[in-house]
Amino acid sequence: MNRGLVLKWARETAWVTVAFAAALALFEGLIPVFFETFLEESAGQLLNLRFVQRLIQTLLGVEFEGGLDAQAAVSFAWVHPMVLVLTWGLAITICTRCPAGEIGAGTVDVLLGLPVSRWDVHLSLTVVSMAAGAAAVLAALAGSWLSGQFVGDEYRIPVRALPPLAANLFCLYAAVAAAATLVSSISSHRGRAVGGAFALVVGSFMLSVFAQFWPALRPAARFSVLTYYRPFYIIRDGWAWSDMATLFGAGAALWACAAVMFRRRDICTT
């Protein structure tokens, strides 16, 4: 790892990290308050729709009878599509900076004209992306904790559940970051890398959704990242070691592939 490279990318990604982290904190802070009001005032009319129920079941990874209860609602705050988009967006934004972003912008000539190995580059950007992910997850955790101070007990996530939730969200972030790094390592245009990485995660998301409606697809759902991120069970049972290990292991494998691809590839800006 090269400290200078870490500082360079930290400088370049500081604002985007702050923006995504603030949005996550705000969302996690507001959604329990929203649900408390929404469920009590609207009696969950919208949630009686079968499609909406299925969608929420997909996101939560749990089947529930009747309406959305308080426990399901607070866990939904951690798996809401907005949370997923923000988490994945941050991972993809940072991890496609190099090599795809630097090649596309033409700055890779300056970067790789310096005495850094490609392994240094790969490792340094990983450190920055993991730090950004940790900051975003901590912001989400802080937002969730803070909102818990303003809602009733049943809409409050127990403090004991917050660390395992944050850890599992971080593992999800790491897996997506590794996938984005792999796509970036074989691409020479940032736009294509971002598009490719988003296609992967959206495809993974859609796999989970379709598996809910089409049982024949259920065995394939094991390849979806959402299968290994289930806040409902984490809040109920505590640490989901197996899910975290799966996400982390998949992420590590993808990250190692990205390192090999980047080390072996030719770099050409013209």
Partner: protein, 302 residues
């Protein structure tokens, strides 16, 4: 210092470089001349470990340019041909950032260069003109005093005064023991600056000689004005002088004899004026670029 041995690198169907061999001794100002698309930048990318040769071997300081690239670049200053800088980068913070990455002090030397070249150290690259960005690129390549400077068309976008200042700076570096690999498509600057020049054409090296050797092979033009135009018709040129245009009172000729002998012969003739041009390198270089160039060797090295 730098050795390329039969290096080949193609881009699919597109031509890159073909069996390029070069040997650059330490302390040389080495010109690398060729038209656009000839393979100059590809050769530089192989040298810097950005491209892996498909055949052959490239080394610098005795180390392999692909596998030991990071070690080699500790002592390399590189200015890319199509320089793109980070928008946030000013001279001052750029020097600090590169200093941290290189783990080698260079800010003070870089700021001194910025002062010498009249570059505001606090303007960000996103607000710089092309010439200013080029100066910043040069400063970042020079400030750590590398042993090898690789410059890909470094004078592009520089004004003539700045070009002259850069030449002076490079000559000084070479006098101190550094080696400069200077890529250009402009004959004039290579002729003025370099000790040795390689000419690349369509991905192959077609010449690799000292400037002195090239000059020795270059043709001079001799112009003789006769006192008495009528008399010139009865004068025969010496065997080492080929007259290609014969007029009543003027000859244009190319000499193959020693200049001293030519002057001695001329002194015995009724001439009004004698002009001997400097060696015309342009003709030599152009001969390498012609499609029917017989000098192009089959193996790409000269």
């Amino acid at each position: 210092m730098v050795e390329l041995s039969n290096v080949t690198r193609r881009y699919g169907r597109r031509r890159g470089i073909e069996r390029v061999s070069l040997s650059i001794p330490a302390g040389t100002l080495y010109g690398f001349l060729g038209p656009n698309g000839a393979g100059k930048t590809t050769t530089i990318r192989v040298l810097l470990g950005l491209l892996r040769p498909q055949a052959g071997r490239a080394s610098a300081f005795g180390l392999d340019c692909w596998s030991d690239s990071a070690v080699i670049k500790r002592d390399v200053g590189y200015l890319p041909g199509d320089l793109r800088l980070y928008g946030w980068m000013s001279c001052r913070n750029g020097l600090r950032a590169v200093e941290r990455i290189r783990r080698r002090p260079m800010t003070a030397a870089g700021l001194a260069l910025a002062q010498e070249w009249d570059l505001d150290p606090d303007v960000r690259a996103s607000r710089m003109s092309r010439g200013m960005r080029q100066k910043l690129g040069l400063i970042l390549a020079l400030a750590h005093r590398p042993r090898l400077l690789v410059m890909d068309e470094p004078t592009a976008a520089l004004d003539p005064l700045m070009q002259e200042s850069l030449y002076t700076h490079l000559r000084r570096r070479v006098a101190e023991g550094a080696t400069v690999f200077f890529s250009s498509h402009t004959l004039g600057e290579v002729e003025r600056l370099c000790d040795r020049v390689a000419i690349v054409r369509r991905g192959r090296i077609v010449a690799d000689e000292t400037l002195a050797a090239l000059r020795a092979r270059a043709q001079r033009v001799v112009t003789i004005h006769w006192h008495d135009g009528a008399a010139s018709g009865s004068i025969d040129p010496p065997s080492g002088l080929t007259v290609y245009r014969r007029q009543k009172d003027r000859w244009d000729a190319t000499p193959s004899m020693p200049i001293a002998e030519l002057v001695r012969w001329a002194a015995s003739q009724p001439i009004a004026d004698l002009t001997i041009s400097p060696p015309d390198l342009t003709t030599v270089f152009q001969s390498y670029y012609r499609d029917d160039n017989p000098a192009e060797p089959g193996d790409g090295s000269a």
